[in-house]
Symmetry: C2
Subunit: 366 residues, 2 copies
C-alpha cells in the first residue's frame, strides 16, 4: 500500500464506478439535429394555417433574419399566407415611457381573449437597434398574457434601420393573421420616430397619456396626437381621477383643433386604469364603433389598400438605399469622399455623382 | 374711274410704299444664333469669376436643366467655382405667406448693398413644382433691389421634386459665391416642407412672424421655430407696435423652452418694420454677433462641413431613387403591381422585390 507509482500526481483520485450519462447521447444528437434541421417553408406554412404558434415564431425569425436564404423562405411563406391575411383588427398603441403601455396592453389583451378573441402583440422599436433597450423584450412584464393560450407576444426585431424593422413588423402581421389572430396590437415607444410607420400599418391608432403630464409633454407629442384616433388617459384611478377628468376636457378640446379625419371619425378621449382594469371595455367599444363607421363608409377598405401601396413603395426605397450602402466598395469610396468634401477639396455633388457612377458600373460587371 | 376690275374685292386697298423692316433680318439671325450658341463652361466660369451676372444666370440655368449634357457642363462649372466659394454669409429667411417676406428681403437687401455688400437672393419653393404659384417669381415685388447693381435675384427652380430643387439651390449658392456675392439670402415659403432643406444650407436661419397671428399659427410652425436662430416680428409699426412688443415677450419665452443649440447661440427676437425700414439694422447687427460667436467657437466651420456631408448623402439618395422611378419599364411594372397589391393578389413586399429584381437585371444588360 505504501508503494506509489512514479507517474501519479500529488492529486490522485481513486477510480470510481462509471456514472450513466445524464442525457442520452442519442437524445442530444436528435435535439441538435432538430435544431440544425432546416424546416421547409411548406411545413411552417402548414403549421401557421393550423394556428401553431411555434411555426409562427420560426417563420417570424426567418422574416427577421438578414440571411438571403432565410429571406427567400420568408417571402415564400408570406405569399402563401397572404390569402388568409387581412382579416384582423389592427390597433397601434403608443405613449411615452412610464405611461403604462405594458400594463395597459396586458389588461386590454386579457379582456379581448376573455371575449374569445385571439390576440397577437407585436412591437416596433427603433431604439433597440441603437442599444437603448427594447420594448416587449422583457416578456415577464406581461406575465398573465404570456400564459394565455389565445395570445401571442413577439418582442421587436432589433439591430436594423427603422425602415427594416417596420417592414418586418408589417410582414409579421400577415403571418399572425394567417395563424388565426383576429386582433393585432402593435406597440411603439412613443418618442416620435416609429409612430408614422405604425400608423401606416394599423386601422386604429391609440395614444396613451397621463393626466397632468404637463403642457410641454403634450406639445412634444403633437405630431402623434394628430395621428391618434383616440387618446386613453391611463392611471385614471384613486386620487388621480379628478385630474384625469380635467385632462379629458383639455385633450378633447385639443383634438377638436385638428382637421377632420378622412375616416370621418372624430377622435375620442377615454379614461382608463390598466392597473385596476377599469375603462378597458370602453376602449374596445369605441374601436368597435370605429370599425362599424369605417366599414359602412368603406374607408377601412380604401385605407388598407393605400397602406399596401405605401408599403410597396417604402420597401422599394429602403432596399434601393440599403443595397447601395451595404456595398463594401461603396462604403470605402464613401469614406474617402466624405473626407475630401469635409476639406472642401470636392463639391458634395461631384462626390455624390462620382460614387453613383462607380456603383452603376459595378452593377453592370456583376 | 367707273370701270371696276372683276377680281377686286369690295374691300380694296391702294398699294402704298414699302415700309422698311422694323428689325433687320441680319440682327434677328445674329440674336437667334447667339441664343442657339452653346457657350462653353470655360467662358461661363471666366464670366462668373469676373462677377458677370449674365454668365451667372446662364450657369444657373444649366444647373436647373434636366438635360444630361447641361448637367455635365453645370458640374464642370461648379467644380471650377468651388475654390472661390464658401466665403459668404448664408441667411435663410422663412415665414408664412402674408408675413411680408418680399418687402423684408428687399429692405434688408438694400440695407446690405448700402453697406457695400453684394447680395444674392435665391429661393426654394416646392409649391411651384405643383403649380401653386411661386415665390420670387414676380420680380416686380422687389423693384428697387432688382435695379441695384450689387444685387442678384434668382427665382426658384420649379417642376421638380423638393430634393431636386433644394440641391439645385445649394449648387447655385456655390456659383453666387464664386461670382463675388458675399451675402446670400435664401427665401422659402414657410409652410413646413422646405425649411429643413434651407436650414441645412445656411449659417443663420431667420423666421419672420407677425404680432397677434394667434396661438394656433405659432403652434403649427413649431417645428420651424425650433430651427430659428432669430424670430423677426415684422410690421412692428404704428398701432401694431404695442402688440408686437407683447409678441416679442411671448416668442422669447417660447424660444427659451427649446434645448440649447449646438452653436451656443441663444435665439433672439427682433422687432422690425420692413415697410418703414425700421429695425433692419438690428437684424444685421445680430447676425454679425452670431458670426463672431460661431467663428470664435469654430461652430461655423464645423457646421458647414457637416452640411457638405449632408448634401453629399442627400444627393446620393435622391439620385438613386430618381433613377429608379424615372425608368420607363419600372414605371410600367410599378403601375401593374400597384393594381395587384390593391386587389390583395400580391403582398406589397413580394411586389417590391419583384420590381427590384427586374431593375437589377436591367442594369446589368445596359
Amino acid at each position: 500500500m505504501t508503494a506509489k507509482k512514479k507517474d501519479k500526481s500529488a492529486l490522485s483520485e481513486n477510480e470510481g464506478i462509471t456514472q450513466p450519462d445524464s442525457f442520452s447521447s442519442q437524445s442530444i444528437a436528435a435535439i441538435q439535429n432538430l435544431r440544425r434541421q432546416k424546416v421547409s417553408p411548406e411545413i411552417l406554412i402548414e403549421g401557421i394555417l393550423k394556428g401553431d404558434k411555434v411555426s409562427l415564431s420560426r417563420a417570424i425569425t426567418l422574416i427577421e433574419s438578414t440571411n438571403p436564404e432565410h429571406q427567400n423562405k420568408a417571402n415564400t411563406i408570406i405569399n402563401a399566407c397572404l390569402p388568409y391575411a387581412n382579416k384582423s383588427v389592427r390597433v397601434g398603441i403608443t405613449g411615452v415611457p412610464g405611461v403604462g403601455k405594458s400594463t395597459f396592453i396586458e389588461a386590454f389583451g386579457l379582456y379581448l381573449t376573455g371575449l374569445g378573441k385571439k390576440v397577437a402583440v407585436l412591437a416596433i422599436d427603433p431604439s433597440s437597434s441603437i442599444s437603448r433597450g427594447s420594448i416587449l423584450g422583457d416578456k415577464t412584464r406581461m406575465e398573465d398574457l404570456v400564459k394565455d393560450t389565445n395570445a401571442y407576444i413577439r418582442p421587436s426585431a432589433s439591430g436594423e434601420s427603422l425602415g427594416g424593422v417596420s417592414r418586418k413588423t408589417r410582414e409579421s402581421i400577415i403571418l399572425c393573421e394567417a395563424c388565426g389572430f383576429d386582433t393585432i396590437l402593435i406597440e411603439t415607444v412613443g418618442v416620435g420616430q416609429s409612430e408614422t410607420a405604425v400608423h401606416s400599418m394599423v386601422d386604429f391608432f391609440l395614444l396613451l397619456n397621463l393626466a397632468g403630464a404637463g403642457d410641454e409633454l403634450q406639445g412634444i407629442k403633437r405630431g402623434i396626437m394628430e395621428m391618434a384616433d383616440a387618446v386613453v388617459i391611463n392611471k385614471a384611478d384613486g386620487d388621480n381621477l379628478a385630474k384625469a377628468r380635467n385632462a379629458k376636457l383639455d385633450v378633447n378640446r385639443a383634438l377638436h383643433l385638428f382637421p377632420v379625419k378622412p375616416s370621418g371619425w372624430q377622435p375620442k378621449v377615454v379614461l382608463a386604469s390598466a392597473f385596476y382594469k377599469t375603462g378597458i371595455e370602453n376602449v374596445w367599444e369605441m374601436i368597435t364603433d370605429y370599425l362599424q363607421l369605417t366599414t359602412e363608409n368603406s374607408y377601412l377598405e380604401t385605407h388598407r389598400r393605400e397602406q399596401n401601396q405605401y408599403w410597396m413603395m417604402e420597401t422599394i426605397n429602403e432596399q434601393l438605399l440599403q443595397k447601395f450602402y451595404n456595398n463594401s466598395d461603396v462604403i470605402a469610396l464613401l469614406n474617402e469622399n466624405k473626407k475630401a468634401v469635409q476639406k472642401n477639396e470636392k463639391s458634395p455633388f461631384a462626390a455624390a455623382f462620382e460614387i453613383l457612377a462607380f456603383y452603376e458600373n459595378k452593377n453592370k460587371e456583376i
